[in-house]
């Protein structure tokens, strides 16, 4: 499995609402006894770094809270990281990550979990892009002097 593929689904899962993720993942989850929780959800702080001017030297922008969880399902180790303090969301991502790495579970999850989430995320992004575009103001400057 390529790293970028996994990065993509981890990003997608983290950007999706926890309630929707729970709804779509529910039917794919193994019985609770088959999930080995190596790390239940725990919340901590991560220092965000920025670059001055977008490409200059690094500076510490500020800390954000991050929640992480890790579990093992049938030998596959899944990690979930999410911004904020939603324990349930982090644990759902960890379970989904473990299942997605399993080649047998990937095809149904791709069709029934990742694709709908991807479409909904694209729709949300387009909606917010439209809302932003509608408020766009064109500035122009009269030529001075001549």
């Amino acid at each position: 499995m390529e790293t970028t593929t996994r990065q993509h689904w981890l990003s997608l899962l983290a950007h999706s609402p926890a309630s929707r993720l729970a709804e779509l993942l529910q039917q794919h989850l193994p019985p609770a006894g088959d999930i080995s929780w190596l790390r239940r959800a725990q919340t901590g702080l991560v220092m965000l770094q920025g670059r001055s001017g977008g490409s200059g030297s690094r500076f510490n922008l500020g800390e954000i809270s991050v929640t992480r969880a890790s579990c093992q399902i049938a030998g596959w180790l899944g990690h979930g990281w999410v911004r904020g303090s939603d324990d349930e969301h982090a644990e759902l991502i960890a379970q989904a990550d473990a299942l997605l790495q399993n080649p047998q579970c990937y095809p149904p999850l791709q069709a029934q979990l990742l694709q709908p989430l991807q479409q909904e995320l694209a729709a949300r992004r387009e909606q917010s892009a439209r809302a932003a575009a509608a408020s766009k103001v064109e500035f122009f400057t009269m030529v001075r002097g001549e």
Partner: protein, 191 residues
């Protein structure tokens, strides 16, 4: 497969750490650990509890060959770093039956920083028989102590280690569920 550690990592580690402090304050008095995780492959449950508590990314551990599953679990839970030789390590783990490196060769600290020394986690079978009489700081009166499964000539080496005080190494003796501290200040007489 990685192993599950404590049910509640922060609280359980704190309780085990408190017990370790007590064990060093009252040397050679076996204390039962308040909480035990599932044993790591090749180690006792109490040893696993101490490793989860004491090891982090800032210290190094040396141990004779450990099962790959044990190393993987320790890397996951404690960000374990291994030392190349016993002489470089902050902690030395000696599972039951492994041979003891010469105590005099290990890091004993310096006169300015006697704390920069090695701590040995030494697995023993049990604490029942009475082999030695121990005294020193932390003893109201001399107390008898013994452990089965100690490396040969351990007490002889210990006397040499104590003679270097305030330098020297400290030892934590570990049975399946119990722990006894042996700081370098403890005087041991055989027989």
């Amino acid at each position: 497969m990685l192993q599950q550690a404590f049910d509640n990592m922060e609280q359980d580690c704190q309780q085990v750490f408190r017990t370790t402090l007590s064990a060093l304050a009252e040397p050679l008095l076996p204390l039962t650990l308040p909480c035990l995780p599932a044993a790591l492959p090749g180690l006792k449950p109490a040893t696993s509890a101490l490793l989860y508590t004491l090891i982090d990314q800032d210290v190094t551990l040396w141990a004779p060959a450990l099962p790959a599953a044990t190393l993987a679990s320790l890397r996951f839970h404690c960000a374990l770093r291994l030392a190349d030789t016993p002489e470089q390590a902050d902690f030395i783990l000696l599972p039951a039956g492994s041979s003891l490196p010469p105590l005099s060769s290990l890091r004993a600290g310096s006169p300015e920083y006697p704390d920069r020394s090695t701590t040995i986690l030494l697995e023993v079978e049990d604490f029942t028989p009475q082999q030695v009489e121990a005294s020193g700081p932390g003893f109201a009166s001399p107390r008898r102590f013994g452990a089965t499964g100690l490396p040969p000539a351990f007490w002889t080496q210990w006397q040499a280690n104590h003679a270097r005080f305030p330098l020297g190494v400290d030892v934590l003796l570990i049975s399946a569920t119990q722990l006894a501290g042996l700081p370098r200040s403890t005087v041991v007489q055989e027989g």
